[in-house]
């Protein structure tokens, strides 16, 4: 039962400290996280739709909007992913080794993606 006992403390209480208040939900922190994910998704979709409508004014404002939109949405997406990894995949209760295992490829993949996007898709601009 090592696993179970090990996790018992954190998983089996239905109370979560949130914004300094003790709240009690069936399923505890997992449910809260799911709520957060749902809300964030709604925000994402709505903001995307809203900004899409606004795109069609002058080109530079459109570009600016595009940039804002991209940053905003990706930011939210990353938060959501982190929530899942941190709580659902129990990274918070794992050894640091696991964190390294997951961060190293993210780093390498991230760098290579950056590079591939940086190089012009075709031609030397001649």
């Amino acid at each position: 039962m090592t696993e179970a006992t090990h996790h018992a403390g954190e998983h089996h209480s239905n109370t979560v400290r949130l914004l300094g208040r003790e709240i009690t939900v069936e399923g505890g922190v997992y449910t809260v996280v799911f709520g957060a994910l749902a809300v964030l998704t709604v925000i994402e979709v709505l903001s995307a739709e809203f900004l899409k409508g606004a795109i069609h004014d002058s080109p530079e404002s459109a570009a600016a909007l595009q940039a804002i939109k991209a940053v905003l949405l990706l930011g939210i997406a990353i938060i959501k992913s982190s929530l899942v990894i941190w709580f659902y995949m129990h990274l918070r209760s794992e050894k640091p080794l696991i964190a390294i295992v997951i961060l190293l490829p993210l780093l390498i993949a991230g760098l290579s993606i950056m590079y591939l996007l940086a190089i012009p898709p075709s031609g030397y601009g001649i």
Partner: protein, 211 residues
């Protein structure tokens, strides 16, 4: 005699890792799965970069595609997958609390979520096919470049969901036999995989459908 010892000692030695403490065994399994996921991250990044390059170079094609796609269906799908991820972790929680039926219920829901997601993806694909968005490149359609860069990552992800569903059913089969009553590591491993698939979708959803 030589054969005998040679054949059997390994078998004995490795039978269900008899010589390995449960703790060790669990840690190995978990580290193994994490490393596997690490390599998956890299593969998906290749798939995704293929799409982003298009996104940057052919703004309008993508914009058009977004017009056609709409986000209704896929948002619903996203919710389904998020929910299934939640069911998953609840299933593990139940098992850790020693509640086998609860576990079976939750994992069942997880598998269901996966199936619904796949159906949603199927519907979406067939709609796109109607629009003439196909995997192969043909100069005829204005989607020619969009198709492959869209299908490659999403289908690759769909395939992972499919595998996940199979795995979930297998977990249920074993769980029903009480395989995890004593040590739920099997469920936890599947959980890691399933949540990872979910995370990938969170990124794909944002990158492909929203940005």
């Amino acid at each position: 005699m030589a054969e005998l010892t040679a054949n059997q000692l390994p078998a004995v030695a490795h039978d269900d890792h008899g010589h390995m403490s449960e703790e060790e065994h669990n840690n190995n399994m978990k580290l193994g799965v994490w490393l596997y996921l690490a390599s998956e991250i890299v593969i998906f990044s290749i798939m995704i970069v293929g799409y982003i390059i298009l996104r940057i170079n052919e703004e309008d094609v993508v914009a058009q595609a977004h017009e056609q796609l709409g986000v209704g269906l896929v948002t619903a799908n996203t919710f389904v997958l998020l929910a299934s991820s939640f069911f998953m972790v609840m299933g593990l929680r139940a098992m850790q609390a020693g509640n086998r039926p609860g576990m079976l219920r939750w994992i069942g829901l997880t598998a269901l979520g996966g199936i619904v997601f796949l159906c949603g993806q199927y519907i979406e694909y067939s709609e796109l096919a109607h629009l003439g968005i196909v995997l192969g490149f043909d100069t005829a359609s204005e989607w020619s470049t969009f198709g492959m860069r869209f299908y490659a990552p999403t289908f690759f992800h769909g395939a992972h969901v499919f595998v996940g569903v199979i795995w979930a059913l297998e977990v249920m089969r074993r769980g029903a036999k009480g395989r995890y009553d004593h040590n739920p590591i099997g469920i936890e491993m599947f959980g890691l995989y399933w949540h990872f698939v979910d995370v990938v979708w969170i990124m794909l959803f944002t990158l492909i459908y929203l940005v």
